[in-house]
Amino acid sequence: MNTTEEYTVDEKNGEIDILDEVTSREYQYGFVTDIEQEFAPKGLNEDIVRFISAKKEEPEFMLNWRLKAYRHWLTMKEPHWQNVQYAPIDFQDLHYYAAPKKKITLNNLDEVDPELRATFEKLGISLDEQKRLTGVAVDAVLDSVSVATTFKSKLAEKGIIFCSMSEAVKNHPELVEKYIGSVVPYTDNFYAALNSAVFSDGSFVYIPKGVRCPMELSTYFRINASNTGQFERTLIIADEDSYVSYLEGCTAPMRDEHQLHAAVVEIVAHTNAEVKYSTVQNWYPGDKDGRGGIYNFVTKRGICSGNNSKISWTQVETGSAITWKYPSVILKGDNSIGEFYSVAVTNNAQQADTGTKMIHIGKNTRSRIVSKGISAGKSQNSYRGLVRIGKRADNARNFSQCDSLLMGDKCGAHTFPYLEASNKTATVEHEATTSKIGEDILFYCNQRGISTEEAVALIVNGYCKEVMNQLPMEFAVEAQKLLAVSLEGSVG
C-alpha cells in the first residue's frame, strides 16, 4: 500500500512542477495602456443610457431602442442555470462607458494616439503592419470605442461598409434600424438586454449584393480601463450572393478584479450569401487561483434568412475566467448550412460553458458541429449544444462531434447536448468522447526521442486540427501559439 502511494506522490510532484512552471507564466498580454480615459459615472440608470446615446450623437430611434431594452432588462433576472460559478456581479458598480479622451480622426492612422498604437503593436497587430503585409482590414476597439478602421476606402470602392457601430448609426441609420435586434432581440436574455441598453461600440459590416469581400475583415477588442464593462455590438449583414470572412481577437490587461464582457454579435445572411466568423479569444483568464479575469458572457447568433446561405462560426477560446456563450445559427432558408467549429481550452481555475445552437427551420438544411474541449488544472469545461429540427425542416441533417481531453485529475469535462427532432426525415447524429492522452501514445513519442512536452503539443495540435484548419491563415498561427502557451506541460 505504502509503496504505491509513494510512487503516485512522486509522479504527482513531477506533474505539479511542470504545471507550476506553466501556471506561473505571466499572461503576456497583460499590460495597461496609460491613456486618458473618459468615464461615465459608475452605475446604471436611464440617465446613463441617455448619456451614452448623447455622447455618441445617436439618432432618436437608437435612444428609444436602448431605453426599451433597459426597461426590459429591469424586469429580467440574472440566469443561473449555467454550469459555472462566480460571485454575484454588482451591476451598479461598473462603468458603462469608457473612451479614450483624445479626439480621434478616423481614416488616418497617423493621427491615432501613439500610445494606443504602441498598444496594438504590443498585441502584435500593428495597424501599419496589418495594413501593409496581410491585407487585413482592421477595426480596433479599445474598451468601448472603435479607434481606427484600416482599408476603409478600399472597401468602399466595392460598396462594402466596414466601420464602427457608432459611425454606422450616424451614417447608415436605415440599415442599423432595420437589422439591429433582428437576430438577437433585446428581450432575448439578460445580458443581451443589458448590452442593447448600454452598448458603446462594435463593428458594423455590410456586404452589398453580389460582392465577394476581397480581404479578411478583422476586429480587435481590448478592455483597458479598470472597472469597466465592455459591451460591444457587432452587426454583419451579407446581402444576396455575397461573401465575407470576419475575424475577431480579444485581449485584456491583468487586473485583480473581474471584468464583465457582455457582447452581442448578430449576423444576417441573405440568399446565397456566406459569412465566416472566426474568433480567437484570449481575454485575461485570471491568475492561477482564479483572481481576476474576464467574465465573457456573450450572445452570438446568425440567421441564414435566405435560401442556400451559409454561416460558419469558428472559435478558439483560451482566455477568460469564465467563457459562457453559444454562437448559434438559425437555418431559416432552404438548403442553408450552419457550421460550428470550436476549441475551448481551460486551465487553472478557468470555467467554460460553451457550445452552439442549430435551429433547423428550412428544408434540406444542414449543420455540422465540431467541438474540442481541453481541460487542465482545476478548470471546468462544458459543451452545451442544441440541435432542433422543426416540423417543416424536411431532410434536415446534423452531425455533431464533441470530444473532451482531460489533463490532470482535478479538472472536469462535461457534455450537455440537446437533440430535438420533430420531423421524420431528419437525420441527427451526435457523438461525444472523453479521455486523457494515452500513456501508450506518449510512450510511443518518447521512444522516438520526442519529449513528453513536445509530444503533448503534438497530440493536442492533432486533436484540434479539424478546427484549426477552419481558421484563416493569419489567425491559425496565433491560435496555435496560444494553445501551446496555455497547455504546455499540463501532462495528465
Binding site: G412, H414, N423, E431, A432
Partner: protein, 444 residues
Amino acid sequence: MKTTTESTDLRSKFAAEFEVIESGMNGGSKSHIHSIRRAAIEQFTVLGFPTIRNEEWKYTNVQSLVNRNYVLSFRHEAVLDRAAIEPFLLDSLNAYVLVFVNGFFCETLSSLPAVQGKIVVGSLAASQQAYGMVIREHFAQHADYSSDAFTALNTAFAHDGAFVWVPDGQVLDRPVHIVSVADARSSDVFAQPRHLIVLGKNSQARFVETSGTVGEHMGFQNGATEIYVGEDAVAEYYRVQDSGGQSALVNTLNVHQEQSSTFTTVTATLDGLFVRNNVNILLNGERAEAHLNGLYLPTASQHVDNHTLVDHAKPNCNSNELYKGVLDGNATGVFNGKVLVRPDAQKTNAFQSNRNVLLSETASINSKPQLEIFADDVKCSHGATIGQLDEEALFYLRARGLGEDRAKALLLYAFASDVLDTIALAPLREHLEIRVAQRLHKDF
C-alpha cells in the same frame, strides 16, 4: 394560472391525506419509518409537482396529469379477480408472483414460495415486524427524496410493495414477478407502490416488473423501487410496460451497487399513455458493473420519457447503456442519460448510446445524453442519433421480393432486437419478441 392552483390542490390533498393517515396510526407515528415519511411529505410540500421549468422535466409536462381528480388509494380494498390481471401475468416465467393492486399487496392473486426459507419474498407491510432490521437499514437510503418530488411523494406514502431479501450466498431459484395494477374501474386512481430489494454478498436474483391499469379511468402509479446489490451479487431487473389502457406511470428505480456486483436492467415500454422511467444507479464499490438498456415503441399520443443516471463514485467500474426508440403517430419520446464520474473514480469505462427512428410526420423525440466527468483517466463516450431506416437495406430486402411494409417491419424488428437480445431471461425475451413483432406489424 388555473393550472398552478389546481396542482396545488392535489398537493394539499396529499398533505391532508397524510395527516389523516398519521392520526389513524395509533402510536405507529413514532416509528423510524414514519419519521422518514414525515420528512418526505415536508420535502414534497416544498418541491411540489415538477414543471417544465425544472431541467429534469423540460420535455415532460405533468400538469394536465396531476390536475385530475384522483381517488388517493391509501387503503387496502382490492377486489380484482384473476381474470382482470391476466394480461399482466407471464405464466411462462414460472416465477414467484407478487400482485399489488393500487399499491397494496393482494395475497389471493399472488403465488409465493411454498416454504419460506432463508430467502424472503413477500410484502413490505407484512415484513415490517419480522425483518424490521433489514428494512430499517435500507429503506429510503437509496432513493433520494430531497430533490425528486415524485420520490418524496412515494416515500411519504410508502406503506406497501414488494420486499425481497436474499441473504449472503443465496440464489433465488425462480424469478420474482412483481405485478402493479391500478384499479381504475370506477374512478381515476393514484397509487404508490414501494418496493425494496436487498441482495446480500454473493447472492443472485432476477426480477420482472409489469405494470398497468384495469378499467376505463386514469390509473396513475407513482412507483419507487430500491435495490441494494451487495458485494459480488448478480441481479437482473426487467420492467415491462405493456398493458396500459388509461395509465400514467412514474417509475423510479434506485440501485446501490457494492464492489464487484453486476446489475442489469431492461425497460421495455409498449403501452401506457404517459410513462416516465427513472433509473438511478450508484456504483459504490470498485469493479462494479451496470448494464442499462431500454426499448420504447410509443404510438398514438403516448409520451415516453426515459431518464437514467449512472453515478461512478468508485474507480474501475463499467457502465453500458443502450436505449432505442421507434416513434409513430403523435408520440413524443424523451431520453435523458447522464453519466457522472466522480473525482476519484479513475479507470472508469462508461458507454452510452441512444438511437431513435421517427416513423410519422407528427412524432417527435428529444434526446439529451450527458457526461459530467471529474476524473481524468477515464474512457467515456456517448452517441445519439435520430434518423430513418437505411435506404440501401430497404432496397436490398425489396429486391428480394419483400413488400415495402414487410421490409420496413423487418428492419425495425432488427433495430429493436439489439435491446431484446440483452434480456437473459429466456421466457421473457421470447414473450417480448412476439409482442414487439406484433407491434411492428411484422407477419411471417
